[in-house]
């Protein structure tokens, strides 16, 4: 640990700290704004990477991600409006505190549980990611292709809702990834217009699918968040140490749930918050007292979502497979700096990896400290009218796309924002599409490379124990929702018989 800190404590540390603090504050602002998701925020601010060195840029975005995931809880608790998709359970459990005049207590619980959950997960990230990368460095092309397939299976399984919808959303993403030059021969595929010659870039795709389509969707359904700001005028009382001590067992359990869920590709912090809450609800002896403003019911999703947010960085850094939609967006920052995430990142850029680790840890501590001081001023930002936020997101979306890839990228972004509307209309999840765009080239390129190495023998491609294990895990992921349904049905029948 001493060596680790010594290697990080360079003159660049000051720049890194500025990037972390800047990222935390901007993440706070974005997460707290109603109707402005942290994924959207990271997507539209990706061009900021151009003005920064690799280390500070990645520190900035990871810090922004950590604080933004928490900050969604501010509007959720104060106004009952989740600032981010991860904060839905925080709205359900936190808003009753505000209604009975205790917004400060709920915000304090959320802040400390999120911060400690994220910081503890950062320590696991420091240990697990290098170990995983060390294992992955021995992977052959067939293993990588199998890993890509497992990533696809995990996202389909973990996105919730209809498996068929998740599957088709993934198909769409995989299909979009084939547009442009063939990664092996360079031949053009599906280049029906000149704007598609460079293919569907990750950054325009993310901006179109997440940021611009979110605003257009809110226009379509007339969902313009307009919080009742009475809560800002109430007197705030923060929790005491003994209040926090009562939440320890819930927080530890939820942290484990959050970290495990976060590591699964595609599951993300939203799923982690829901799962942790339902686990605690099932464990609670008096279910009637669990919800409606119970501190344990709030601590569970808060701890889990930030643990999951950091956990999602483990497969991203070690294997190049994003653990969540926002982690896929952060992948865009790596792309801007021509960095390939995965095991080679640990051998080719060890100092950078250490900087990312320390940034994630510090960011979680900084946002706890900053939150305890700046919570009320930050909450005042929620007074910004939604039309200003929406017009700003659209302008940044178009200008950001042009800045990263010219008018062609803006055109691609526009088309994808319309596809995003279609997906939302049919209630399709967005994350599988983006992960399909990320994983498509991994599966295709490595499979073809493995096939060449195996002299065209398909059996030889997936002959290693790693490949077989990863494909086996894919089958488990795909079967999991069906098995869970069967178990739930049997449980219901058993209860009905008992009654």
């Amino acid at each position: 640990m001493a060596d680790f800190l010594a290697s990080v404590a360079t003159p660049d540390l000051a720049v890194l700290m500025v990037a972390i603090i800047g990222g935390v504050l901007i993440g706070y602002a974005i997460g707290a704004l109603p109707g402005f998701d942290i994924t959207t925020g990271v997507a539209v601010l990706l061009p900021l990477s151009y003005m920064m060195e690799q280390g500070p840029a990645l520190a900035f975005f990871t810090s922004m991600y950590c604080s933004g995931v928490f900050a969604g809880s501010i509007t959720a608790i104060l106004f009952g409006i989740p600032g981010t998709s991860e904060s839905v359970m925080s709205a359900v459990e936190g808003y009753p505190f505000t209604k009975r005049g205790e917004p400060g207590f709920a915000l304090g619980v959320a802040l400390v549980c999120s911060g400690l959950g994220g910081a503890a997960a950062a320590l696991v990230l420091m240990t697990l990611a290098p170990a995983l990368a060390h294992v992955a460095i021995g992977f052959g092309p067939g293993d990588y292709a199998a890993l890509g397939v497992m990533g696809c299976a995990a996202i389909v399984s973990a996105s919730g809702g209809s498996i068929s919808k998740n599957m088709l959303a993934l198909m769409l993403g995989l299909f979009l990834s084939t547009i442009g030059a063939d990664p092996v021969t360079g031949d053009f595929r599906f280049v029906v217009a000149p704007i598609l010659e460079d293919g569907v870039g990750l950054i325009p795709a993310i901006i179109g699918l997440f940021a611009v389509s979110d605003v257009l969707w809110r226009v379509l359904v007339r969902d313009f968040p307009s919080p009742d700001r009475k809560a800002l005028l109430q007197k705030w009382r923060f929790p005491t140490f003994s209040d926090y001590a009562k939440l320890t067992s819930t927080s530890v359990r939820s942290w484990c749930v959050g970290l495990f869920t976060g590591v699964l590709p595609g599951a993300g912090a939203s799923s982690a918050a829901f799962i942790a809450h339902s686990v605690e609800a099932n464990l609670a002896r008096k279910k009637g007292n669990f919800s409606n403003g119970n501190a344990n019911a709030l601590a569970a999703p808060e701890t889990a979502k930030n643990a999951a947010a950091v956990g999602a960085l483990i497969p991203l850094l070690a294997l190049g497979i994003p653990g969540s939609g926002t982690a896929a967006v952060i992948l865009g920052a790596f792309e801007i700096h021509n960095l390939q995430v995965g095991p080679l990142l640990f051998t080719e850029h060890p100092a950078l990896v250490k900087q990312i680790f320390i940034s994630v840890l510090i960011a979680n501590i900084v946002f706890m400290v900053a939150g305890s001081v700046l919570m009320r001023p930050i909450s005042l930002m929620t007074a910004m009218p939604y039309p200003v936020i929406a017009a700003g997101v659209l302008t940044l979306g178009v200008a950001g796309s042009i800045a990263t890839g010219g008018a062609a990228a803006a055109g691609v972004m526009l088309v994808l924002s319309l596809i995003g509307i279609g997906l939302r209309l049919a209630q399709f999840p967005m994350a599988p599409v983006v992960l399909g765009i990320v994983l498509g080239p991994i599966i295709e390129v490595y499979f073809r490379r493995a096939l060449l190495m195996a002299d065209g023998d398909v059996q030889g491609v997936f002959a290693s124990a790693t490949s077989i294990g990863l494909l086996g895990a894919s089958v488990v992921f795909l079967s999991a929702p069906a098995i869970t349904k069967v178990i739930a049905k049997r449980g219901d029948r058993g209860q009905a018989k008992g009654a």
């Binding site: 498996i163 919808k165 021969t185 031949d187 379509l220 526009l414 049919a426 096939l451």
Partner: protein, 163 residues
């Protein structure tokens, strides 16, 4: 209809992965043979993925028939404002190279506030767009050092004027 729904819900996931495996196999086999690559079978993988995307469209149509929340949005959604926002975005993307970032953003913001959010008065039509243009111009040009289009039209006019 019930069988169709059962097939879609129960078998689509394993079918999808079987499709991916099949696509990859055909595609890679094609890649081994110079005579069939890059024509014909070389496009099998993306082609079959396209077929799966068609299934996505079929599923979308089925979802509309289900009478669920999708239909409610379809019927009650504010399509007029969505159309205005979409057209304004398309105009913004197309016009920016000709009119430049400053003028096109100013016009775009004005249309969004007036046409989509029903904001009236000089503050919303001139004040807010003006401040936004100023902030974003400084942000992109001086903070990010990213050159945004200055406008081919103005460049042409300046050239004619100088000539």
């Amino acid at each position: 209809m019930r069988l169709q729904k059962k097939l879609l819900e129960g078998w689509l996931a394993p079918m999808g992965f079987a499709f991916i495996a099949l696509c990859l196999l055909i595609y890679c086999l094609a890649a081994q043979d110079p005579e069939t690559y890059p024509e014909g079978l070389a496009f099998a993988f993306p082609g079959l993925l396209a077929f799966m995307s068609l299934l996505f469209l079929v599923r979308l149509m089925l979802a509309k028939r289900d009478g669920d929340a999708t239909s409610a949005v379809h019927a009650d959604g504010d399509w007029r404002r969505l159309g205005i926002a979409g057209l304004a975005l398309a105009f913004y993307v197309v016009a920016m190279p000709f009119l430049g970032f400053v003028v096109s953003t100013f016009l775009f913001q004005g249309v969004i506030y007036r046409g989509v959010f029903d904001k009236r008065g000089p503050i919303w039509l001139f004040g807010v767009p003006g401040v936004t243009v100023l902030i974003f111009s400084v942000f992109f040009l001086y903070v990010l050092s990213v050159p945004l289009p200055r406008g081919a039209l103005f460049y042409a006019l300046a050239t004619i004027g100088a000539g």
